[in-house]
Symmetry: none
Subunit: 208 residues, 4 copies
DNA sequence: GATGAATGAGCATTCATTCAT
DNA sequence: TATGAATGAATGCTCATTCAT
């Protein structure tokens, strides 16, 4: 229905291939084949291989950011917004498991000459994403919904909780409701003294 | 005291080179040169290039684990132990900045055939490390020092807070006392209701 | 006429280089240079170095086999056919001296893991060639033209006489008409009792 | 019982290893290990790797030559001597299968710089061996026991019949009494007209 | 725009040889 | 004599990138 540009077709192919084999093991030809185009065609839309990778991460981050902004505009409490963002990300991860290894900014092992360009391109997008989370936290603090933590740090912690959550799912660790558990710890910490609302998992308890 | 095995010499060299250039960009010859040995010598101690990488991560994790166990044996509260582990890791990171990109389990971009071997070797070590943290959390819960969270998840969150903290330092984000802030959020979450002890940063507030 | 496939071009280059330097000493780059292509191009047509070698031997054996079959179809006595095959092989050897070291099945010194592949590919071709010779011997026996020897053994002896003949030429041994001499011994043996027809070389004599 | 020199110990080890894996695949360390000495020790007795190979072939050829001379001194007909030499070689081959790939002078695929030295050393030994065979043929011709063939060519054919015979055994070709058959063809050729003595195989027939 | 055959720089790995002990 | 840890030259192979069609 939607006219998908060839660039996007290639990017989609790249996502699935890179997800399956990792960036290093992925050959440009693999991506081309998966996208149903010739190798040369890829170079009509991307400067070089790392440009594909940058495009890939950029695309994922853009979608993540879009999601955050959409949810931020809903009439929810800030806490509910964060919960919803997290849940949406996890859902997205299940639909596109390929994005998992891509979300960590440190996860790159590019050739030396590519690293700088990558950082130039991606760092601002990550910061943008974190800012968008911080923009949810900040009014929450103002409204007394959250403690007076550093919003940027809170956003960082939130973002970093995501790959952790993935790890649980990936390695099939025996944790019930990992999303709920992660958010629970994110919101209440591990010290007693907050009063998490009871939930069906029951893996919480009244503080002393 | 100075009696260092050649294997360790090579591993040290590998750490500094890989830290500086990334695994992919690091040539075995770079490592050899840095270690002051010939290329062939490296292959007397390591099967192949990825074996060096495995050795590297393994060594770092071992040191981290050792540290955890040592601190766990001190006469401290469980919370103090966690704080101390975190601070020690951060100190270590400043001494060995190379370890930073290596601590994330997802940070690998090895060639396809190497991935399995890597996971075989490293996964158990990571799990061991997380278990050691969980072994601090668990008695804390029993003693009522912590909420009744899933100890394994708490350990995961703790471990994942580390790279986040690194990011702050790395990118020189304007956060005062990132270690304290990170631990604060880890312990108290971002919701009001716990009563963190006032500190000079003032980033705490009365719960509602 | 001149339309030669690139694969054949490479094979021709490989023949002359391998003939001159031996398989081991031949670098893939040598072959590429000789063929007027880049190193990578060679790998578009051959899986690896030993695949070139297999292709080489296969090609030579195919040509030898083709020759045998063509001659077998001519209206000659079986003995004349064998003589003609031998002479044609020797002529071919003078045009393509490179094939010499390749005709012996034992002449291989490949790396261990390559040996199996080589044998898989080449053994059947050699057997085919020997069978084609045996197919000339067999009707000769039926017709009483040859003694009732084992056709397969006779074919083997015939084939093995070829490298012997080459050796004579190669090392410039002082033998007149080595081809005639070789065939003479192949047909009559060294015992007296057969009556070889006098020929212009005169290097034969009446048996007692 | 017999005081075996270390040089011979190494040579024996080399034979079995080279026989099993081929010259190229054989590492000096393999030979050393098999001989029960350290790698460096090998270099006390051999200049380099190809020197071992030369020593190996030289040793085999020497034994073969010794055998020929011993048999030549026995009170037998020249024909019986040749038969006996052939049979003895085949017996030796069964005891030391490793020698098989080594007997053909063309079977070498040494590195370029080694080829010349090899030929310098080995060619004279091969020629010596062939001369020793020719020295059996020559008086046979004088005595009318053999046709007036070129003795050197006959010797060559004789020597080249050996690897052929090996091939039959190696590849388990369905030939009864390969030694007898080979000698039969060597002595009588394949044409009718000689009168081989009837034997139990019955693979003889009346000449026309 | 699209193709895919051709390119060649780049690198891990091997192993014969040396030499300090 | 004997050792075996250390060396480093040598080379097969990959794959991102180009460009003639």
């Amino acid at each position: 229905m939607k006219e998908v540009s060839k660039r996007e077709t290639i990017l989609d192919a790249a996502l699935s291939v890179v997800a399956a084999k990792g960036y290093i093991s992925t050959k440009v030809e693999d991506i081309a084949r998966k996208a149903g185009v010739a190798k040369g065609t890829v170079y009509l839309y991307f400067k070089d291989k790392s440009d594909i990778y940058i495009g890939l991460v950029d695309s994922i981050l853009s979608k993540g950011l879009e999601l955050v902004r959409e949810i931020d505009s809903r009439p929810l409490s800030q806490r509910e917004k964060l919960s919803e963002v997290f849940a949406a990300w996890v859902r997205g991860m299940h639909e596109q498991p390929g994005m998992v290894p891509l979300v960590s900014m440190e996860s790159i092992n590019l050739a030396a000459r590519e690293v700088d360009r990558f950082k130039q391109s991606i760092k601002p997008r990550i910061r943008e994403l974190i800012e968008a989370i911080a923009a949810i936290v900040r009014p929450g603090i103002e409204a007394g919904e959250f403690r007076r933590v550093d919003p940027y740090m809170a956003a960082l912690m939130f973002v970093h909780s995501f790959p952790m959550n993935i790890m649980v799912v990936r390695h099939k660790l025996p944790v019930q409701d990992p999303v709920g558990t992660t958010l629970d710890m994110f919101f209440h910490g591990i010290l007693p003294g907050t009063e998490p609302k009871p939930n069906h998992n029951g893996n919480h308890r009244k503080p002393l």
